[in-house]
């Protein structure tokens, strides 16, 4: 496909823990050099998938192929794959230098080469000169970078990252997102990145897979997944989206299907504004206004039966906080282009954080 070779391939992979189907029939191809994210709420099976690829778990069924090699019974230490752990898993009794050199020491790489590669790697993650510190003397962000260096120094064909930024605060996380992406482009290694943060997945990935209940709901580029969600779950989990029930949809678009429309695609207009061609429109009353600085979020109650609500996001290009608040309680018309409406496959809408 696409002329690129497949780095990791999952074929009907299942992993059951007793009654619990952590991974339930997942098939997936990840290409060489790709930054691939596995996105989903906790318990959706994304981390188990990662652990199956690393070899920490063994599949209950199906095949896992690394560059075409079936690694079913191959232990982690014989797989050309390295992992950055969520809790970093640095060895507390070793210095930063010895942590990073660990994989090379095991492979009996000569000392001189070992030191050179460790030095290069620490430079890449901007930790030069920290060789002799202990992990306990580092900040969270520094530990994270040591973990990254320790995995990358082995030049694996695939790097697995299990929510590596989860423990960092927002500012640092955003900074590290950019850094990680840069490093990935520099070294050209396939990254498989597990996260529950949709924004992170959208910013960093070449492609992503959305997980729910041990299954993949959609695979695609960030733009595809965001603009054309395939299921109600994806529409709700990736970004925020208005999901319109079939009954209400029939009154607006004349067709009984579950639909989604992104809040920022809707125009808030006066009740008597003319509707352009190829657009849908619906009347309603502004129930709530939340001023967010750059944007304002409106909640509009529609004149449909049963009554439904749509969230609308408008940029505050020419409006002030005082202006937007006066709209509360007014009757409005909502207008959006037909091609922004997506027809969804009905799956379960999952709350923000499950178990």
């Amino acid at each position: 496909m696409n002329g690129k070779s497949v780095a990791v391939s999952l074929v009907n992979v299942r992993r059951h823990f007793g009654e619990v189907k952590a991974v339930d029939d997942v098939s997936l191809d990840v290409y060489d050099g790709e930054f691939f994210s596995m996105l989903g709420p906790s318990g959706s099976g994304k981390t188990t998938c990662l652990r199956l690829i690393a070899g920490f778990e063994r599949p209950s069924g199906g095949q896992i192929l690394l560059h075409g090699w079936d690694v079913g019974g191959v232990p982690p230490y014989d797989r050309d794959v390295n992992t950055v752990f969520q809790d970093y898993a640095l060895f507390p009794h070793m210095t930063v230098g010895r942590n990073v050199a660990y994989g090379l020491m095991i492979k009996r790489v000569p000392k001189a080469e070992r030191e050179r590669r460790v030095g290069e790697m620490l430079e890449l993650v901007r930790l030069s000169g920290m060789e002799n510190r202990k992990p306990s003397q580092l900040s969270g962000g520094q530990r994270q970078r040591v973990a990254l260096a320790r995995a990358l120094v082995n030049r694996p064909s695939v790097l697995l990252l299990d929510e590596p930024l989860g423990a960092l605060d927002l500012k640092l996380r955003q900074q590290m997102q950019i850094e990680l992406k840069n490093i990935q482009q520099q070294v050209g290694i396939t990254f498989i990145y597990v996260t529950h943060d949709q924004e992170e997945a959208l910013t960093m990935s070449d492609r992503l897979a959305v997980f729910n209940h041990g299954q993949i709901e959609q695979v695609g580029s960030p733009a595809e997944v965001y603009e054309r969600p395939a299921t109600t779950f994806v529409a709700g989990f990736v970004g925020t989206s208005n999901v319109i029930d079939a009954g209400v949809a029939r009154q607006i678009v004349g067709e009984a299907a579950t639909l989604s429309i992104r809040p920022e695609k809707i125009h808030l207009s006066s009740p008597d504004a003319a509707v352009p061609a190829e657009s849908y429109s619906v009347h309603g009353t502004v129930q709530d206004v939340v001023y967010l600085g750059m944007y304002t979020r409106y909640l509009v109650e529609l004149e449909t039966s049963p009554r439904a609500h749509l969230a609308v996001m408008q940029q505050n290009l020419e409006t002030t906080s005082m202006d937007v608040l006066t709209i509360r309680g007014k009757r409005v018309q909502l207008i959006w282009r037909r091609d922004f409406t997506r027809t969804l496959q009905r799956t379960e809408i999952v709350e923000e954080s499950g178990v």
């Binding site: 070899g55 982690p76 230490y77 752990f85 809790d87 898993a89 640095l90 994989g103 492979k107 082995n154």
Partner: protein, 268 residues
């Protein structure tokens, strides 16, 4: 235990007094040992001692039965501890992460030799030795001691393993280390001080044991058995006093070391 307002934040006088009294109760008899070691009196335990002298230290120095018993006890404790370290560590590695059927049964089995009264363990081993026809020897003492020493190593190592992040083990294997290399480079350094602490306690336990040893020792005298026999010899009281001081002083060493080892790692 009274209901005054300071109860929640500050210890009341009553509680302080009771705690101090209990501490004095615990330590006073041991301090007394120190005093009596210098007692000039030969045949009685008169308090206060009529006079003080260093003479008995010289007398003890010439008592070869004491030194033989001490030597036997040291070797027994060393060998028992080595066996206990191996058995306890292996069992701890098997138990701490797996949830298999019978896991509780194995924990109970390891605790049993110390949970059951010593006399039960003693008689049981003795009757087994009688049936098997083995002669009492150094090794019969060691078998008994290793059996009840395993628990100290096991408990210490399991506790440490539970506090050790398992992802370290996964990280090691992920970086190419086999199970053996992972044990050597990651698990062993993590549990090292727990092993030392468990080993020290095991050593102290063995060094001090008398009840089980009585049944498995035959004619040999370990140090506790020697002291026990001394208790029934009023003429030897001054020597016993000095030996007691010596024993208390030497057992302090492993205990203080074990305490240090468990504390150091508790702080990181």
């Amino acid at each position: 235990m009274r209901s005054d307002a300071s109860f929640v934040n500050r210890a009341g006088i009553g509680l302080r007094a009771a705690s101090t009294a209990v501490l004095i109760f615990l330590h006073f008899p041991i301090l007394l040992i120190f005093l009596y070691a210098f007692n000039t009196e030969e045949a009685a335990y008169t308090f206060p001692p009529p006079g003080l002298t260093f003479d008995w230290f010289g007398v003890l120095l010439k008592r070869s039965d004491f030194w033989n018993a001490l030597g036997l006890s040291l070797v027994v404790a060393l060998v028992s501890t080595m066996i206990a370290v191996v058995l306890g560590t292996l069992a701890a590695l098997a138990i701490y992460r797996s949830k298999f059927f019978g896991r509780d049964a194995i924990s109970l089995m390891i605790i049993l030799p110390i949970a059951l009264p010593g006399i039960v363990t003693g008689i049981a081993l003795r009757s087994a030795l009688n049936i098997s026809g083995l002669n009492f020897s150094f090794w019969t003492i060691v078998i008994g001691h290793a059996t009840f020493c395993v628990v100290t190593v096991y408990n210490n190592v399991v506790a440490r393993l539970r506090r050790t992040n398992y992802s370290q083990v996964e990280a090691s294997m992920d970086l190419g280390a086999s199970i053996w290399q992972t044990f050597r480079y990651v698990i062993l350094p993590n549990i090292a001080t727990a092993l030392l602490a468990g080993g020290m306690l095991s050593f102290a336990l063995s060094f001090d044991e008398v009840i089980v040893t009585t049944f498995t020792a035959g004619q040999q005298q370990t140090l506790p058995i020697w002291i026990f026999s001394q208790l029934q010899r009023p003429r030897d009281r001054p020597v016993t006093n000095v030996a007691a001081l010596f024993v208390v002083a030497t057992t302090l060493v492993p205990i203080l070391l074990a305490y240090r080892f468990t504390r150091e790692s508790g702080e990181t």
